[in-house]
């Protein structure tokens, strides 16, 4: 059975969790910053994955990695990250900068994903030893500098936050970002079924672990049939309810029962633990 995720928008998280969505994504375009909202919701839920959109371009990579690791700790292993790459003059003006050209943008996205992944592994699982005899709380050999140098920034590390429960946060992003090989979940927004089949095959060839189709829902009734048709082509879908949808309840009815969640988002999605 394919996985079903949901762009949360202004929908109710508790309804989404009860319905058995694998995870919700939280776009970073509302009044409440997506990472803060996800953290708040992490303590109102216990099984659903929470994936805020955080932009690589207009944030500090070190803060971004820390925030996501902390979300994973607060949710006990349910954090995902929708890779955002806003690249508009107005977004850059807020932090003092100018948009990046195509290749530079792709490189920046790669660098931020790479440094986040290195930072999430900068503390080994068993770094905290609490050895009363020697007086050592940490094993300093198990907490590492990352010494990352990218095209536009560098980070020494380690992360200030110990290894997140999942080891690696689930990294989710569009296949159009040009970094498909670095993604746990590639999102494909294709206008036709044939194009979806083609881009899905391409994303798999490029190394994405899972492929999700973007699906707009304005009429809940045909959702089940739509998902059945995608079985075998993609691993999951992300639903976007349009203004025409009469709330979440009819969509949930149409989907039918969902498989139970795992103890972490990686487990729910069948991704290897620890990344």
């Amino acid at each position: 059975m394919i996985h079903v995720a949901l762009e949360l928008g202004s929908l109710d998280i508790e309804d989404a969790e009860k319905a058995g969505f694998a995870f919700v994504t939280i776009a970073n375009d509302g009044p409440i910053e997506a990472g803060v909202r996800a953290a708040y919701l992490s303590r109102r839920t216990s099984t659903i994955g929470l994936a805020p959109e955080l932009h690589v371009t207009v944030t500090e990579p070190f803060h971004l990695a820390t925030q996501l690791a902390s979300l994973d700790h607060a949710s006990l292993g349910r954090a995902g990250w929708v890779v955002g790459a806003v690249n508009t003059p107005s977004a850059y003006a807020a932090v003092g900068g100018t948009p990046l050209a195509g290749d530079d943008l792709r490189r920046e996205i790669e660098d931020v994903i790479d440094v986040a992944r290195l930072l999430w592994h900068s503390w080994e699982d068993d770094a905290v030893i609490r050895d009363v005899g020697s007086g050592r709380f940490l094993d300093a050999d198990r907490v590492h500098h990352v010494n990352f140098t990218g095209a536009r920034f560098s980070v020494v590390g380690p992360l200030i936050t110990p290894r997140p429960p999942q080891g690696q946060i689930v990294v989710i992003g569009a296949d159009t970002l040009g970094v498909t090989g670095r993604l746990d979940v590639a999102l494909i927004d294709a206008p036709t079924h044939d194009e979806l089949v083609e881009r899905s095959a391409q994303a798999r060839a490029d190394g994405a672990r899972l492929i999700f189709a973007e699906v707009e829902v304005d009429d809940p009734a045909p959702v089940r049939a739509r998902l059945d048709r995608l079985e075998g082509i993609v691993d999951g879908v992300r639903l976007h309810l349009t203004g025409a949808t009469p709330g979440l309840a009819p969509v949930i009815d149409a989907l039918g029962p969902r498989p139970p969640a795992g103890s972490t988002l990686r487990e729910t999605l069948g991704l290897p633990q620890g990344g």
Partner: protein, 411 residues
């Protein structure tokens, strides 16, 4: 009325991790349990510390103290869902953040918590911390509070609903307003620049002036500075950091304080403390023996332990000479010279009486407590000291408001 906060630093020698009942200080369950205990004790606020690089000693990750902490705003947003009244204060620095980004996250915390957010404004001057950031080490020490002032001015404008643009060598921003919010502003710096920032912007100062005489002098100084900015002398709450060691008898409290001090300054920690000053490997020295007989390395201290007050970062040769003159062992020397917040040691009644004097003389508005034991310090204060304060009419018996501003009786 006295106001109480709990300052959860998450790093450093203060927190004793060797106790068998030590609660895992990075686990979310520990934070949730702590927040709920504080709310039961009617605390004003739960403060999270921040430090943007893991502490090191001579180029290696420092392994003797607790280490590891969450992003403060993320953690407090999670705690907002677990609590209903407790103020949630994030320490966040103005050097290695983008003002528009941080202002938006703080406003978001304020909204999801229903008006319970606070921001403890700190600066980081060292380039060593900056090595984790895009613009590492760009800001000279002397200008860190100018940047902080520009940063806070921008944040306040964005929270108040204005677009804000400014472009100079300290700040580069052109951003739309955030959701409407008014986080309570805390300031902890004790330098003249820090005090001025407090007088200009802060709602609360988290000062290091805890001893009665220092607290009195600080209050006088701050109130004079407030007048200079046209603010009322009562516009700012003064909450110095404080350690509290409680015992059922004075002797028991004193014994516990002695134990805490020795746990906080173990032999290996004493050696590591001196290594900061010597700049050399001193692991061959006996902590119970005399100070090292070798000369220290050239140059001043590196900032990688992150805890050294600015006045300790220069003049190390004179400092070492003065330590030698004490004639104590390495460990006893370090216990003696380590800068630390004043500890209140005694029975709950004794400490409540002492705090009554601070309160009645209007020297402080409360205390920001630094725990040594998790969860012991917090449970003891809530269960034993709070009732004594309540009996003396010094402390609330129920929350009367829901926002942090209301708790602190701020406009």
């Amino acid at each position: 009325m006295l106001h109480l906060g709990l300052f959860f630093t998450g790093v450093g020698p203060q927190l004793i991790w060797t106790a068998p009942d030590f609660a895992d200080h990075t686990h979310i369950d520990t934070f949730v349990a702590t927040a709920k205990t504080l709310e039961r004790g009617l605390f004003d606020a739960f403060f999270l510390g921040e430090g943007l690089r893991v502490r090191e000693n001579r180029g290696r990750v420092y392994d003797l103290d607790v280490a590891g902490r969450p992003d403060a705003i993320t953690q407090l947003a999670a705690l907002a869902a677990e609590t209903t009244h407790l103020g949630l204060v994030a320490t966040q620095n103005t050097t290695y953040n983008f003002p528009a980004d941080l202002a938006r996250r703080l406003a978001s915390l304020d909204v999801v918590s229903g008006g319970r957010a606070g921001w403890n404004i700190v600066t980081t001057d060292n380039a060593w911390t900056g090595e984790n950031f895009r613009h590492g080490g760009w800001l000279e020490h002397s200008r860190r509070y100018e940047r902080a002032d520009a940063f806070v001015t921008a944040a306040r404008a964005l929270w108040a609903g204005s677009r804000y643009a400014k472009h100079d060598d300290l700040i580069d921003i052109d951003a739309p307003p955030t959701v409407a919010a008014r986080p309570v502003l805390f300031q902890a710096g004790d330098s003249p620049g820090g005090r001025d920032l407090a007088a200009r912007h802060a709602d609360v100062v988290f000062s290091a002036n805890t001893d009665y005489d220092k607290a009195a002098a600080y209050a006088t100084d701050l109130r004079a500075r407030l007048a200079g900015y046209g603010r009322s002398p009562d516009a700012v709450r003064i909450l110095p950091g404080a350690m509290v060691v409680l015992g059922d008898t004075p002797a028991e409290a004193a014994e516990k304080a002695e134990w805490i001090q020795r746990e906080q300054t173990t032999g290996p920690r004493a050696i590591a403390f001196l290594e900061q000053y010597w700049g050399k490997d001193l692991s061959g020295y006996d902590p119970d023996g005399p100070l090292p007989d070798i000369e220290p390395a050239e140059g001043e201290l590196d900032p990688s332990r992150g805890t050294i007050p600015i006045e300790f970062r220069t003049g190390k040769l004179e400092r070492i000479a003065s330590w030698r003159a004490l004639g104590l062992s390495i460990r006893e020397t370090v216990i003696q010279v380590t800068p630390r917040h004043n500890a209140f040691v005694g029975t709950p009644g004794q400490i409540a009486d002492e705090w009554t004097r601070y309160h009645d003389d209007h020297v402080v508005d409360g205390f920001n407590i630094l725990p040594q034991q998790l969860p012991g310090t917090i449970e003891d204060i809530v269960d034993k000291l709070v009732p004594e304060l309540q009996e003396r009419g010094l402390y609330r018996t129920a929350y009367t408001g829901t926002t942090l501003r209301e708790h602190l009786e701020l406009p």
